[in-house]
Symmetry: C2
Subunit: 461 residues, 2 copies
């Protein structure tokens, strides 16, 4: 079965057989995320970042959990929803939610992080949602083992990849968002299909009614709004497997274009830490200052976390908290007594159990993935923080240039304006993005391309 | 004697007593610096930076040595030149060059570094010459001990400071550039008055015919074109002692204004290192790559230098070179064999003999002084560096805004345009600079101040 057929099969009409009465009432309401406290990187598609100083508990509350969506959030009628399982299996399945909930349930606390978390910190800038530090969170995920579903379908030994597809659709002519999980990871007992998040039904923004959890690996494997799983001997040939979510085989010259043949797929996330308290630019009183946060290392364990209160000259070991789970971040804390009032640059540096520490600067790569540099937070002890240094609220800004009309007609129909404004690309970078978007149906004419690229580079660099 | 009297005394006519025949012929020609290979931060006053990749020898050749001038370079007729020594002394002196050269001579190899070296790297930006990394160099300085001159003048025990003044004059109404050296440092056997630099007569750009060398301390103590030394029980009250070259007592909130009463004078320079080879963004062939540079620590010694080739995750100790002198930088080298071709971020981190390492980020301060963060150089092994990543040449750029006319009439008469263009200040920062410059005779009217500040902030931020 080729990718075209796979896509086509999803478009078939699925008979609505399950009566609403068969479903638990919790599935009848589609939750929406409260955006009041999240940073809107894009409203449509919905990309919301958690301000890191709100990450104060080991389990991240649902309404604070970052949201990453590639396309528009689908509206799903749970009674009509089915999960199809086919491909290299003995018994193709079409499962209702009730049938999935009837399988043995398990709960896993796991940290989920967008591969592009920290992209805004790369220099030179790279295209994509300009996440700063808060596209990460930890939840208790409840559902069933993916392996149980695959065994039920009689997955064949020839299957080497599992293609995951959800109910969301590419905008315009953009290709469908499909990801591919190697069979060993898919069959691992900790890889789940989940319908609950922190004891609540999975919220719409997080994949209602069912999403994958591929723990320790970059977040895009944990596909949302799951509707179709296909076992295959070959990898998927779509752009979200063959072009996106890939990393250079070798360290590359910053700012260069890297052919896909020189890249490998992202998998486990690297060692990383975040100081979540005090907040960046916080003014704190004299006395004891608890420096606290979280550290994680994908599917590896945290070995230690060190904290510096002198700009990275010297380090002291932080105490690791008792909350722990194999794929979850680990709390750390160091109680600091500032020697005098003033402004201090605090840093945290995690080392995984294999002795690999965070770097001072993350390796540049064209996707802006895996930012994991030593974290930095400035704190002002016994002195006020000037209003001008408060974190930016990220307003959309005015459009006062005639070039904006092409932008308005060709881009803003699909993209939140703020997504465009974040990019900071040069003219060549914009031309590449426009060519890609044109291929996906953006409708930018050849005459419009260069003036639009020039305008975007001038306006948003 | 008040500062006004001190300034007045310099203006007196000095009788020309020394015949040209008494002077060595080397003093009859005033050398000029070849600017061909230096980065022009300002042409007038003359502020020239050395590209760090040209710092390849322990002794920096004169024509590569950075130049820092506060005001215009004075033209000095050596036959008429005198050094006056007065104030709290038993025998005021007026010395000719011949008389100074008749004193016992000594040679000292010392590193000189501008206090503002690295200013361009501070965030938020601060006003001043936007030095990057190359306002540092090492020379063999030959001259006489300042203590010998002071003893000859019979310096009194009441003297606690030595005021140094040179033949340069403030531009417009700007105050004269006068610095003050505490008596203990002035009397130290290594503090010199020098007339030779690397075996040549002191070049004009470096203070012909005589400059101070106050080794280990920030460069502005080593006053050029010296004409007057005054011993005093009190510190000098001019702005280059009471406002400039000072550092906050306590770490301050970045971007804030710090009152002078909350600052202390700069003295010794902190521990620091520079990778001078390979050059930043250099493309090098596969094979052995020597990573080399210099490390120094003001009037302390270097304990060790470590090098990282993986973005600061891990460190290896570099070999220190045999060239050494108490106040001179120390060469270091580590021969690296890249594991594969690609782009690498190299770092160097020096630790002084008292165990104090360089920080990851230098402490922000309103003068932009003492940048000494761990150094970083990117190198591309076996791959080309794109032209777009070559170091910026720093062209002056076009002026295409009507607001530029105020700038042209009020500022560019005295300042090199590039000095203005470097500043990156916000409106408030520019208002402060304009107020200071207006006090110094810039002639900006009250009506011009705010529009000019707004234009500058918009154009050069």
């Amino acid at each position: 079965m080729r990718r075209r057929d796979f896509l086509g099969s999803i478009g078939r009409t699925i008979p609505a057989v399950a009566a609403a009465t068969l479903l638990p009432s919790v599935f009848s309401a589609q939750q929406t995320v409260s955006k009041a406290r999240l940073i809107v990187r894009s409203a449509r598609p919905e990309d919301l970042e958690t301000p890191v100083h709100l990450l104060t508990s080991w389990i991240t509350p649902n309404d604070l959990f970052y949201v990453r969506s590639h396309f528009y959030t689908p509206s799903i009628e749970p009674g009509a929803w089915r999960l199809r399982v086919d491909g290299d299996v003995g018994t193709p399945l079409e499962l209702t939610l009730g049938e999935i909930r009837a399988l043995p349930a398990t709960t896993l606390v796991a940290t989920l992080e967008c591969a592009g978390n920290g992209r805004a910190l790369f220099d030179p800038p790279v295209a994509g949602v300009q996440w700063e530090k808060g596209a990460v969170g930890t939840a208790a995920w409840r559902g069933v083992r993916l392996a149980d579903v695959l065994r039920k379908a009689g997955v064949r030994s020839s299957a080497r990849y599992l293609w995951l597809d959800g109910a969301d659709r590419g905008v315009g002519k953009a290709p469908d968002f499909i990801r591919s999980v190697p069979i060993d990871k898919a069959m691992h007992a900790d890889t789940l299909l989940v319908y609950e998040m922190n004891g609540e039904p999975l919220p719409t923004a997080h994949g209602f009614p069912l999403r994958a959890i591929v723990p320790g690996w970059e977040g895009a494997y944990s596909l949302k709004w799951l509707t179709h799983i296909r076992a295959s001997a070959s990898d998927h040939d779509g752009p979200f497997v063959q072009a996106g979510y890939r990393y250079p085989r070798r360290p590359v010259v910053p700012g260069t274009v890297v052919p896909a043949s020189e890249t490998v797929p992202l998998r486990g996330m690297p060692v990383k830490s975040l100081i979540t308290s005090p907040a960046n630019h916080a003014a704190v009183p004299d006395g004891e200052v608890p420096i606290a946060g979280f550290a994680w290392a994908g599917d590896d364990e945290i070995g230690r976390v060190d904290v510096s209160i002198d700009g990275g000259r010297t380090w002291v070991e932080a105490r690791l908290g008792s909350d722990r789970a194999r794929y979850a971040w680990r709390p750390f804390e160091y109680v600091w007594r500032p020697p005098q009032s003033g402004s201090y640059l605090l840093m945290s540096r995690a080392t995984d159990s294999r002795g690999r520490p965070q770097p001072i600067l993350a390796e540049w790569n064209p996707g802006g993935y895996l930012w994991n540099a030593i974290d930095r937070v400035r704190v002002n002890v016994g002195v006020a923080t000037p209003a001008s240094l408060a974190p930016a609220s990220g307003g959309a800004g005015a459009i006062d240039d005639p070039g904006a009309s092409i932008l308005q007609s060709r881009c803003v129909a699909c993209h939140d304006f703020r997504l465009i404004e974040q990019q900071r690309l040069d003219v060549d970078g914009w031309r590449r993005e426009l060519d890609k978007m044109s291929g996906w149906g953006a409708g930018v004419t050849p005459e419009e391309r260069d003036p639009l690229a020039a305008y975007l580079a001038r306006r948003y660099r």
